[in-house]
């Protein structure tokens, strides 16, 4: 499914948010893929990913915001998919350079600003195969929260991060009982796939708790239509 697509945000905010999904497909290249995936999980860590996980069902151990990478790696089986998030374009590039060299033969999907991904691909000699572009949110968009809150909640494509939890943690930050850094991690814990970017969440929480409300960004998510 499209759990890494539809992340709301301005160009500036999305510039620090790149998701990697590795997929081994049943009937094609899944058999024996666990060994490669375990190596990939370590590679995510080497390139300083800000969130990592992937396994599901009984193999699920949580994301690295709540458990160790070792336990995630140990539980990995054929058919599980490694996921991670990088918070800079530079980290994404260094990861892709090594990924290309190692040539795992698995499907690799990068989600983020298309122009940035494309420029890295051009630089390191990769021609993208298929794209999936969001055409935005339709229907009764008045049901959605304000921009920065929506930017935070849409970092979990499965909708596990509650807008009400964001509000609750903002209250705690304002009351001085919770740091912005800890709130960013707390918000990422419900995201089973580990696609939530806690560093970007910190930045958005700063906007919500420090900046004047008038400076709130307009994500534009309600109006991809011209």
């Amino acid at each position: 499914m499209t759990h890494s697509l539809h992340r709301a945000g301005t160009i500036e905010d999305l510039g620090c948010d790149y998701v990697i999904i590795i997929r081994a497909e049943k009937g094609y290249n899944q058999e024996g893929s666990a060994r490669k995936c375990k190596e990939l999980l370590r590679l995510f860590q080497k390139h300083d990913a800000v969130n990592i996980t992937g396994a599901r069902g009984t193999n699920y151990k949580g994301n690295v915001l709540e458990t160790s990478l070792d336990s995630i790696v140990e539980a990995f089986k054929d058919g599980n998919s490694p996921y991670c998030v990088f918070d800079t374009k530079e980290k994404l590039e260094s990861f892709l350079v090594e990924l290309k060299e190692k040539d795992f033969g698995l499907s690799v999907v990068v989600s983020g600003l298309y122009d940035s991904i494309r420029s890295i691909c051009d630089k390191i000699g990769i021609v993208p195969h298929t794209t999936n572009h969001s055409l935005g949110v339709w229907g009764n968009t008045s049901l959605l929260p304000d921009g920065p809150v929506l930017e935070i909640t849409t970092m979990c494509g499965h909708g596990m991060v509650s807008r009400y939890l964001v509000d609750d943690l903002i209250e705690k930050i304002r009351a001085g009982s919770l740091s912005i850094e800890k709130a960013g991690i707390e918000l990422g814990k419900p995201c089973l796939c580990g696609l939530f970017n806690p560093k970007r969440a910190e930045m958005l929480l700063r906007k919500l708790t420090v900046d004047d409300k008038k400076e709130r960004v307009n994500t534009g998510v309600k109006g991809w239509a011209l």
């Binding site: 298929t130 055409l135 935005g136 949110v137 229907g139 509650s162």
Partner: protein, 240 residues
């Protein structure tokens, strides 16, 4: 479910629910069963100081529909056997070749972001696409709940179930993009109690250009600046 005997009514659990289905009564918290989508977030959050949250290992049909479309850690055991709310779509297109040049993939995720919807209302939102005569992806778990896949009519026993989101997937020829945009506008008007997120999947041209983006702009719409990109590093390579 919440064990009323254990619950101390502190209300700490209320914010974790993405659909606001936990309500605080005078002495304890209670789950609104109609609003609950069985996503399991409240159970996994471990916020409850007295561990009053319990999760039933199995849910009866049709209640289980809520869980398999809302909890990413629950497989569609009773239908497709897969995980999630749709299919692998373009994630492995470099090896499966599902999206070929000259075709456009459309994915309409109803209820996303974070609002949810009943299958009864999903039927109303799906109807304009059925009228285009598209074939709904047979491996998609939402399609498996349809009684009539030509008309997007869902089985009666699942219509009252509420899910966090579910995806309609189909392929079209690029010449039909205008018709699809018309159907999206029609569905948007029908989505009075929810939202839906739309995605367009394209096989990249040999020169690296993404087709159909310009055609979409000529129709008055544009794609988001962020996208999912399959890098084409999988093997064996599909002939597409």
């Amino acid at each position: 479910m919440i064990d009323k005997e254990l619950c101390i009514g502190c209300g700490d659990c209320l914010p974790v629910c993405p659909v606001k289905a936990i309500e605080l009564k005078t002495e304890y918290a209670e789950i609104n069963e109609e609003m609950c989508v069985e996503c399991g977030v409240c159970y996994r959050a471990k916020r409850c100081p007295v561990e009053a949250f319990k999760q039933a290992p199995d849910l009866p049909w049709p209640r289980i529909v809520r869980r398999v479309f809302s909890d990413p850690n629950a497989p569609h055991s009773a239908t497709t056997g897969g995980w999630g709310r749709g299919t692998a779509e373009m994630k492995s297109n470099d090896v499966t070749g599902r999206y070929k040049r000259g075709m456009v993939g459309i994915a309409v995720e109803i209820g996303r972001p974070g609002v949810g919807e009943t299958i009864r209302n999903i039927e109303k939102i799906a109807a304009p696409f059925a009228r285009l005569g598209v074939e709904f992806e047979p491996l998609n778990p939402l399609t498996s709940l349809m009684e009539d896949t030509k008309k997007a009519i869902f089985k009666e026993d699942v219509k009252n179930e509420r899910v966090l989101s579910a995806i309609i997937e189909f392929l079209i020829e690029p010449s039909r993009l205008q018709e699809v945009v018309g159907a999206l506008e029609e569905s948007s008007a029908a989505a009075t109690e929810t939202v839906f997120s739309v995605a367009m999947i394209n096989r990249v041209n040999p020169d690296g250009a993404v087709p159909n983006i310009d055609a979409l702009e000529k129709l008055g719409y544009r794609a988001s600046p962020n996208a999912k990109v399959n890098l084409g590093l999988g093997r064996p390579k599909a002939e597409v």
